[in-house]
Amino acid sequence: MKSDSPTRVGKGKVVTAVFLKDIQIELRSRVVTNQVLPFAGLVMVMFAFALDNDDVLQRVAGGLVWLATLFSLFIIVQRSFAIDTADGALDSLRVAGIDLSAVFFGKAIALATKLIALEIVLICSAVLLYRVDVSATGLVLLVTCVLCATSGLAFVGTLYGGLTAGAKGRETLLPLLLLPVVAPVLIAATRATEAAFGSGGAQTSEGWAWIGLLAVFAAVFGVGGSLAFGSLIDE
């Protein structure tokens, strides 16, 4: 047995390994499927039920989709880091001496994957339950909006999830930190979705301005996260 350190591993491989691990655990434990989805579905149904009025429903449809996504974000982030801290695996990751910005991207991509799966279900149920019509141009806008908003949420969720993981009692900080930061995403995504849905006579074109904001947000937290994640998670 040679005792030289193994060669350093490329960033891409670490990203893939972390991503696969997170997805594999989700497939085993089914937290998103069994726990978050019914949760999010309930919001949609209850509102359809509470506001039995097509006009109002169509107006709130966009907001509801993103509100439900945001809640799910909290739960998924918390769960995703709870898995790593449960048996001290986070410590092992830190001691592995790997590039923590790769861990950041791996976890963020896994988080985004879960969020997108969720959003697809939510948007479809909004279309069905609230009788929303989406035009072809609206669809393009919607898809762009989902992609931009989700990457922003995934980046910021992973970043602050890392900050609040680890020491006991710290996890209670997560909502406090995350709330004010994701609020703009919520607003921008809601407005863009409303434009795509044509709620309240909104034009599709109005939506694209919001996409810009979402893209800036995603870029800021993508770069910021990959730089800062290491020093936040790591003490």
């Binding site: 900050l163 020491a167 710290r170 900080l173 406090l176 930190l177 709330l179 004010p180 930061v181 609020a183 703009p184 904001l213 800021v220 937290f221 910021g224 800062a228 020093s231 936040l232 003490e235």
Partner: protein, 249 residues
């Protein structure tokens, strides 16, 4: 170490005394001018006088948060990681949160007088509230357990991300259709539509609040230093106590 403590015990210095006196002076002028000398507004009546507190406190809060970010960046970049930067960042954020609270309170009161409501779900108001919450979160991060270096590193990252919210608050009136006053003073066109004395009083307010800010930050940063020193002395005692465990057993 205790000598240091004694020597530095009073947090004031000659500079802070001068700044404090100046701040008092300017604020006295703002009170006189704001409440008596300036005319009432055509539309808003007497309630316009809230502006002399509301607007400066908002701007000084911005200023405080920007200082926090700059100090945090300096800490991260500097080779020596001087703790002074970190203490300055923390002190500035604390004072900034206080000023932001003043903005929120005076704004609500003003809203009650002009809109009839304490609170509206208006973009400027909402984003301001979020900015406030963000920095409360920043202060919470500073209180997490860990060493001073950990505190500095964590909070520096948060501060540099949080400061990006300021443009969002400032431009929220443009981004969203807003009930709130648009950029009257700092408007992009540069033409100010305001009575000269009102404008002068407003800027006196800004100067006065800046002086108050500087005075508070200097003192606060000083007390933080003293707390750190006291903690270090507490640690000396704790180390001594811990070492005796080895003798007992």
């Amino acid at each position: 170490m205790s000598q240091v403590l004694q020597r530095t015990s009073p947090t004031g210095t000659r500079t802070t005394k001068v700044i404090g006196a100046l701040a008092l002076l300017v604020m006295a002028w703002v009170v006189v001018s704001g409440l008596i000398l300036t005319p009432q507004d055509v539309v808003q009546g007497e309630s316009v006088r809230i502006m002399y507190v509301h607007v400066p406190s908002a701007w000084i809060a911005y200023l405080a948060f920007i200082f926090t970010a700059v100090a945090s960046a300096s800490w991260l970049i500097s080779k020596k990681h001087s703790m002074g930067f970190d203490r300055f960042a923390g002190a500035s954020a604390e004072v900034g949160v206080m000023f932001m609270a003043i903005t929120l309170i005076t704004g609500s009161l003003w809203g009650r007088l002009t809109w009839g409501e304490f609170w509206q779900w208006d973009p400027r108001l909402t984003t301001t509230a979020f900015l406030f919450v963000t920095y409360v979160g920043y202060l919470a991060v500073r209180r997490l357990e860990g060493s001073v270096e950990q505190r500095a590193r964590r909070s520096a990252v948060v501060a540099m991300l949080a400061v990006l919210e300021i443009p969002l608050v400032h431009f929220s009136v443009v981004l969203w259709r807003s009930l709130h006053q648009g950029a009257t003073v700092l408007n992009p066109n540069g033409d100010v539509k305001m009575d000269d004395l009102m404008l002068f009083t407003l800027f006196s307010g800004v100067v006065g609040f800046t002086l108050v800010f500087v005075w508070l930050v200097l003192h606060r940063q000083r007390t933080m230093l003293l707390v750190d020193i006291a903690n270090r002395q507490g640690l000396d005692a704790a180390i001594a106590a811990r070492q005796t465990e080895s003798l007992v057993k």
